[in-house]
């Protein structure tokens, strides 16, 4: 499945990045993905734009002139601005990540990053923001997941899942229709923040796929080339 075939809603994005070229490439990539993008070159300008406009997500570089990324986000949060923030940073330490999230960031992506990774994370951030009622059941097509009894079924037929497979499927179902990258899965399902040398996630996915898709005409769990995976029902 190709990335283009996974439609993500158009977003209004704010990029706060001082590197002109990096910002230009990023803006091009985001615009071509159908998003509306504003750019601020430093923290002060970024804060002014964030105050004046409503954005779906702000993409903030950690190190900025005049007002650094952490300060900018802290300020936004103090002012009650709850726009989801994704930090981009050349500082890739676990510590920096924790600091970013503590300052009020919602996600943290170390540079260099893949644009598809960024897109998938933006998508996840925007949709997460939508009020989430407490769900006890998730459903995608005829696939159902019962969060209370920890059981899964497709077309009424029970599927036997290992605990980790359950978590994996839950994450995919909560992000149904979105591209989910391997790193996102590793971070959110396993809570690991490193790259395994081999793509272990692929094997987990194919095992899960064998359990939920095997024997059914419509495939639900798709591999998105060059990006990751997407769980979605054929509409």
């Amino acid at each position: 499945m190709l990335l283009e075939s996974v439609a993500s809603p158009s977003m209004r994005l704010l990029i706060v990045e001082d590197d002109r070229d990096a910002a230009a490439y990023l803006m091009k990539g985001l615009k071509e993905s159908g998003h509306v993008v504003d750019h601020a070159r430093d923290g002060v300008e970024g804060l002014a734009l964030a105050r004046a406009q409503g954005y779906d997500v702000a993409i903030v570089d950690r190190m900025l002139p005049r007002l650094d990324g952490l300060g900018l986000v802290q300020k936004m949060r103090e002012e009650g601005n709850q726009v989801p923030v994704l930090f981009l940073s050349a500082l890739g330490d676990i510590d920096d990540r924790v600091k970013g999230l503590k300052a009020g960031g919602d996600d943290y992506l170390p540079k260099p990053y893949a644009i598809v990774e960024l897109l998938a994370r933006l998508d996840a951030l925007v949709r997460r923001r939508q009020p989430e009622q407490i769900q006890t059941k998730l459903a995608v097509g005829d696939l159902e997941l019962d969060l209370l009894s920890r059981s899964a079924a497709r077309g009424g037929q029970a599927i036997d899942l290992q605990p980790r497979e359950f978590l994996l499927l839950e994450y995919l179902m909560r992000h149904a229709g979105q591209v989910v990258t391997r790193t996102m899965l590793l971070e959110n399902v396993w809570d690991y923040h490193f790259d395994p040398q081999t793509n272990v996630i692929d094997v987990h996915i194919s095992r899960l796929r064998a359990k939920i898709d095997k024997g059914f005409a419509d495939q639900l769990l798709h591999t998105v080339r060059g990006a990751g995976y997407c769980l979605r029902a054929v509409s």
Binding site: I94, A114, F194, P196, Q197, T198, V203
Partner: protein, 456 residues
């Protein structure tokens, strides 16, 4: 000049302060004894004189001047240490054992010190005396006293002894202080000179030991081992730089050549696309290598120790095994975890997870199909022994130490996928946790063993 410099050294200043304190307290002690004994002796003399006066007064009131005169003549003849003189209003002698009225100004009832000449057969001696003066009715003068020559002599001696002992104490102390501080300064000079040599680039220099086994030798030893450690780190860094250069240059070169060759002649869109995709793949590989290098560097600095927390190695191991189990299964390799007891250690969960992931990843990668990978955790002698054993080809004995060194990978593995720095990272994480790492032969296969200290 060097002598003057000596005064500025801490050792000399300390010696001087000590000397002054010591001299002051010694002086105070002797002075106290002196004033006490001298005062006591003086008081005794005065008391005796007073007693004598009391006797004379009695005679005088009962028998008047002639009676007094008579007593004085008697007492003067007695040959004791008492001194008497009775004189007219013009101080001319009437009676007494002093030849003349002493030439010292005095009033009624005054105590005085004076000197007189004592004549004994053959010689005349000038001696000190103490006396009290009285004016009697009719202008007569009476002086009653005692010879205190010996006493004054003792006092004089004590005084001069006091003076000279102070001079000697100060003198000796000064010389001692100079010698002592010169010794200390000389030892420190050696250390300072060596430090300057090292600063100026002679990195192989070390502080010589005096062999006295004292605190200066201890300081020198500590400095030397610190210098050794720094030298090791420096040579490590040079090696690291070389390896980084190699690990990054090679793929950068591939990336550049690939793009250059594509541009050499016109190509189809498909060809361009493939070249670009290849370039992205190449740069992803570069990023992975770069991340590994950074991670190793971070583990090597020991900074990560700040994030240490108590963790159970068994839980970490079972999580990683859970992550890799499907990979093993896909290759029909049995991945077995043997961990009967939890093992609490202090560590960085992320780094240990990654190190374990690297070990298991490698084991699965190099084990042929139908093989087995066994990860076990045992508690042995206050240590948590973590072992990953596989049935792959193993690593030749000669290369085992080599692969554990910083940023080194097997020459043969350089062209395989992955950053290939897996074992270097494992070794760095082990060093960070003060754990011992060993690579052994499982015949066939590799046994990687990590021994962690248990949390106390």
């Amino acid at each position: 000049m060097r002598f003057l410099n000596l005064f500025r050294t801490t050792a000399f200043r300390l010696a001087l302060v000590y000397l002054l304190l010591f001299a002051a307290s010694a002086f105070a002690l002797i002075a106290f004894i002196y004033w006490n004994t001298a005062g006591f002796m003086a008081a005794q003399t005065d008391e005796t004189i007073n007693a004598e006066i009391l006797g004379l007064r009695e005679q005088y009131t009962q028998q008047g001047l002639p009676g007094l005169r008579q007593v004085i003549i008697e007492r003067s003849a007695g040959g004791g240490t008492g001194l008497y003189i009775l004189a007219n209003a013009d101080f001319s002698r009437i009676a007494g054992n002093l030849s003349a009225w002493p030439d010292v100004p005095m009033g009624q009832g005054d105590w005085v010190y004076f000197t007189y000449d004592r004549t004994s057969p053959g010689e005349t001696e000038r001696r000190s005396a103490r006396a009290r003066h009285f004016e009697l009715r009719g202008g007569f003068h009476l002086l009653v006293g005692r010879d205190v020559h010996e006493r004054r002599e003792i006092e004089d001696r004590i005084e001069s002894a006091l003076f000279w002992s102070a001079v000697i104490t100060l003198g000796l102390g000064l010389i001692g202080g100079l010698v002592m501080s010169r010794n200390v300064t000389r030892r420190l000079d050696v250390i300072n000179r060596t430090s300057r040599d090292i600063i100026e680039g002679d990195l192989a220099r070390r502080v010589p030991l005096s062999g006295a086994n004292d605190e200066f030798d201890e300081l020198a030893e500590n400095l030397n081992s610190m210098l050794d450690q720094i030298e090791r780190l420096m040579s490590g860094m040079t090696e690291v730089a070389d390896n980084i250069a190699h690990d990054l240059r090679t793929p950068l070169n591939r990336l550049r050549s690939r793009l250059e060759v594509t541009l050499m002649k016109p190509a189809t869109e498909q060809e361009y696309r493939e070249a670009l995709e290849g370039a992205i793949g190449e740069s992803d590989g570069l990023i992975a290598t770069f991340n590994s290098l950074l991670l190793i560097a971070r583990a090597e600095t020991g900074e990560a120790r700040e994030n240490f927390e108590p963790l159970d190695l068994r839980a970490v191991l079972s999580d990683i095994a859970d992550l890799y189990e499907p990979l093993a299964e896909a290759k029909r390799i049995t991945l077995k975890v043997v961990a009967l007891k939890p093992a609490e250690i202090n560590g960085d969960r992320g780094l240990i997870s990654q190190a374990l992931a690297n070990l298991i990843d490698n084991a699965i990668k190099y084990t042929p199909e139908e093989g087995a990978v066994i990860a076990s955790l045992k508690l042995l002698d206050e240590e948590a022994v973590l072992e990953v054993r596989d049935t792959g080809p193993g690593i030749p004995q000669a290369e085992r130490d080599h692969v554990l060194r910083r940023f080194v990978r097997l020459e043969a593995s350089r062209n395989e996928p992955g950053s290939g720095l897996g074992l270097s990272l494992v070794a760095a994480v082990a060093r960070l946790h003060d754990a011992r790492i060993d690579l052994g032969d499982a015949k066939p296969g590799l046994i990687a063993t990590l021994r962690f200290h248990l949390k106390d």
